[in-house]
């Protein structure tokens, strides 16, 4: 099946079986291995990506359903500001670094994408709302406290310094 989509802003055209998982296309066909496979059954959220503005588990999405879509993965978070040679970390990535929101790192890309979708949808620093937003993402290291802190920090409107 011929599929066209935008991945992190770049157009991609592929000829793949319609039932191939988006996760496998990202990792195997496109080499975007930032998206992790944990459980492969929608329990752990390690493969979370943003599909047309909504967070989804890439292991549960067949390629036939992303033709014409926009996908954002963890590789698409850091961006290059205009007239700058270097990419700058997304505020969520910076906040995870600042708070120690990552340990082994396997859940981190999925956490970042679930949190990005939450903030993009207008989510704020309220702890209960953050915990609900990442309820589909399992972390076995941190106990979540630092992750929630990081997201709250990134979701807090920045006062002008």
């Amino acid at each position: 099946m011929n599929i066209r989509l935008l991945v992190n802003g770049s157009p991609v055209e592929l000829d793949v079986p319609g039932m191939r998982r988006l996760l496998d296309v990202l990792r195997e066909d496109l080499g975007l291995t930032g998206t992790k496979e944990g459980c492969g059954e929608g329990e752990c959220g390690a493969c979370s990506v943003i599909l047309d503005g909504q967070v989804v588990d890439a292991c549960l999405v067949p390629m036939s359903q992303v033709d014409g879509s926009t996908v954002r993965t963890v590789e698409g978070l850091a961006r290059r500001p205009a007239r700058s040679p270097d990419r700058r970390l997304d505020e969520l990535q910076a906040a995870f670094l600042a708070t120690g929101g990552a340990q082994c790192g396997i859940c981190t890309p999925g956490m970042l994408m679930a949190a990005r979708a939450y903030i993009d949808a207008g989510g704020g620093p309220d702890e209960d709302a953050i915990r609900e937003a990442i309820a589909g993402n399992l972390c076995r290291c941190t106990g979540y406290t630092k992750i929630v802190e990081a997201i709250a920090q990134a979701a807090t409107p920045q006062a002008e310094v």
């Binding site: 079986p17 549960l60 589909g136």
Partner: protein
Amino acid sequence: MPVEPRLEVPRTLDEAFATLATAPHRPIAGGTDVMVQITGEIGPAPDRMIDLWRLEELRGIALDGDVLTLGALTTYTDIRRSAVCREHVPALVDAAATIGAAQIQNRGTLGGNVANASPAGDTLPVLLATDAEIVVGGARGERTIPVTEFWVAYRKTGLAPDELVLRVRIPLPAGREVRFRKIGTRRAQAISKVVMALAWRDGGRGWSDVRLALGSVADRPIRARTTERALEGRRPTAETADRAATTLAGEIEPIDDVRSTADYRKVVAARVLHRLVRDAGGW
């Protein structure tokens, strides 16, 4: 790598019906159930599949007089965001909010929950308690199946192999109250140990049209009709709650499985019902 079954991707419902008329195909909508099966780790993967995701005819939530109609492709996120659902069937919104988490709610569909026919499907007790109807169809035409007749055995539905779930119709009688409660291991990403919906109308002198529906306590979602009779005509008093809870514990016959035990399910179902009646009575 998972297997990649052959897939048809119809653009219209008529195309889908024509494909299904030639041979059975396993439908995929939001994929949250079936994508797990293509790994082949929990049984044979489907051979031929049909992708329903682009069938716009199966989307949309519409209020028509005293009936709410939800297209089969309505996602749990659609339900949670729908002002019409929040106003007219808040219990369905409550159920949608307990399913998986954001990732699952953004893809999983009401039609998929209905067709997948899991005894633990969390919207299904709400559909039973609200006397919903399932509209199904294929090349031979449409028909409407009362939800009480839709799940015929463990994971078996009244759908013919060439038919699809098209819509769910929920009647909205005046004065009906519906409550939903789910018991799982955690608030998100949990498969129910017990899931319950209770509906009634309160005419002032006692409850009427009582419906009590449960999931995860039988081989399919069920109505607890003996307990319904124990509640019918009663006021939500402590005595009513006690009698209904005792009746329910004697009526259901759950099993021990990986998620819970029969004993736990009976005790918890009785306790949850007791609390719903108490909350309704305000005592």
